[in-house]
Amino acid sequence: MQATLALDLAPIARADRWRPAELAFWLIPVAAYFIFPENLVLLTQIAITALFCLSLDLILGYAGIVSLGHAAFFGLGAYAAGLLAAHGYGDPLIGLAVAAVVTAVLGYVTSFLVLRGADLTRLMVTLGVSMMLYEIANKLTDITGGVDGLQGMEVLPVLGQFEFDLYGKTAYWYAVAVLFVLFWVARKLVHSPFGLSLKGIRLNVGRMPALGAPVNGRLSTVYTIGAAYAGIAGALLAQTTQFVALDVLAFNRSAELLLILVLGGSGSLYGALLGTIVFMSAHHLLSDLNPQYWQFWLGALLVVIVLFARDGVMGGLRGVQRRLDAAFGRTK
């Protein structure tokens, strides 16, 4: 064992330690509650979208499966929770659980379609699946309410205790709590051998079978997990908005999600969260300033970010950190 003595194993052995910056990050939602008490709905939706984005990050950022149809799972989750609540089963946590199961099943089944082909093929197959789901929901107007939306959702208090209120306090803590728990799980996942093997698949899918790794099995698994995450996010949105309409399945939602993830920096969990925060805040602020033409400024923001910070916000932050390190002569 002399060999190992010569080597400092810390970088790999302690990769999963919670760093101070992470703890600080998780103070943001607490602080935000007090600083922006009047924007809780926005903050709630940011948390939900962040969870949705996290789910895409798992499959894209870690496993390298590009998807332009992730809204399929989000929407299915939303309808699952929405229909439950509209038919008298309004307990939120049960709604989440059912949404997770239903979407996981769909995720597992469709994962076999997604395994084939390269990026563009996957992009289009995921898109095709989600568009078909959209059309089905549109067809089944009697059940889903179609474009006009699902009528009559009654969501019960969370844990039987906390009513959803006009200010959105309950909704906020509920969404943040779910986000945190699932983030924690995702974090475990990406630091595990499973997470490492996903990275391996993303970086060189051709080599993994020669290392004895069942690539398709791994991809199926992570796709299923990602689907369940997205389903939960959808369910959260349905419950906190108390309304579901067809747009939960729309192409725009999938595309915007991809955008958010890339903006944040795919392949890092915090990238997903930061991307959501930056994108949705920018959207909100800009559209308040200029309801008609805000898209121009948002577009410009995206372009500038790509030009100056590769790998999105996370990439930019890493760059800044490197420069700081260099400036202060620190070495990693």
């Binding site: 790999i12 052995a13 990769a15 051998p193 997470g195 093997s197 391996g200 080599r207 290392l211 790794a213």
Partner: protein, 251 residues
């Protein structure tokens, strides 16, 4: 009766109309140091690809330790002890050297799908990976990203990944290409020092290495087996000299 670690029966591979592997029936004895030589484009790499399941044969069979594996997926063959290196590096550019090798070890010992505990919690895998790096003298690069290494070092990682499989049959496709002469000798010493029950099939164009290392040589020409035998037999075979060796070996 000799036992064969690896056999092919009438293996054929066609690319469109082009026959890359032409009715090859090859026997590799258990524990052999078997070299496969032949001109460029003779179909050596294709043969390895067929053996490992990287390519599907057009017809014929692959038999590993007496069992047909022709229709098994690549990773299933690996699980049965068949590992390989690639002629052109296939590495994980953004992983560190240690991560890459740890990942390989994880897969071998069957913890590749564990998702709850962190990588570092499986110390036995990390330790084994570090050991392996030490044997290949890569320890000081353990935390470097693969992409930042020079070609020759990457070559070594290619081999480390295969060794991490603790294979019973190891297929090496020009392992020493791009490794400087001095280091390729050490490399071969490492490979030669593998337990005798590990069977090795080697493709190599460096005849010094081949003749020092191999106890059996098969010659492949235009997709078909030309001949086989001990190094001494091959070295004096006029046909082999004509199509492949030229003046490389002066016995």
């Amino acid at each position: 009766m000799t036992t064969y670690a690896l056999q092919t029966r009438n293996l054929v591979k066609k690319f469109g109309g082009f026959v890359a592997t032409n009715d090859v029936s090859l026997n590799v004895e258990a524990g052999a140091r078997h070299a496969l030589i032949g001109p460029n484009g003779a179909g050596k790499t294709t043969l390895i690809n067929l053996l490992t399941g990287f390519l599907e044969p057009t017809s014929g069979d692959v038999i590993l330790n007496g069992e047909p594996v022709t229709h098994l997926a690549q990773h299933q063959r690996v699980k049965r002890g068949l590992a390989r290196t690639f002629q052109i590096n296939r590495l994980f550019a953004d992983l560190t050297v240690l991560e890459s090798v740890t990942m390989a070890v994880n897969e071998r010992i069957g913890i590749g799908a564990r998702f709850w505990r962190p990588i570092g919690a499986y110390a036995e895998a990390v330790d084994e990976a570090a050991q392996l790096l030490a044997t290949l003298r890569l320890l000081d690069l353990a935390h470097e990203k693969t992409r930042n290494l020079a070609y020759g070092k990457q070559r070594l990682i290619e081999i480390a990944l295969a060794l991490a499989m603790k294979p019973r049959v190891l297929l090496l496709d020009e392992p020493a290409a791009g490794v400087p002469t001095s280091e390729s000798r050490e490399l071969f010493e490492t490979i030669a020092a593998l337990p005798r029950d590990v069977t090795i099939l080697l493709i190599e164009h460096d005849m010094d290495l081949v003749f020092r290392f191999a106890d059996q040589i098969s010659v492949l020409v235009s997709g078909a087996l030309l001949t086989g035998g001990t190094p001494d037999e091959i070295a004096v075979n006029p046909k082999v000299k004509e199509v492949y060796l030229g003046e490389a070996i002066s016995v």
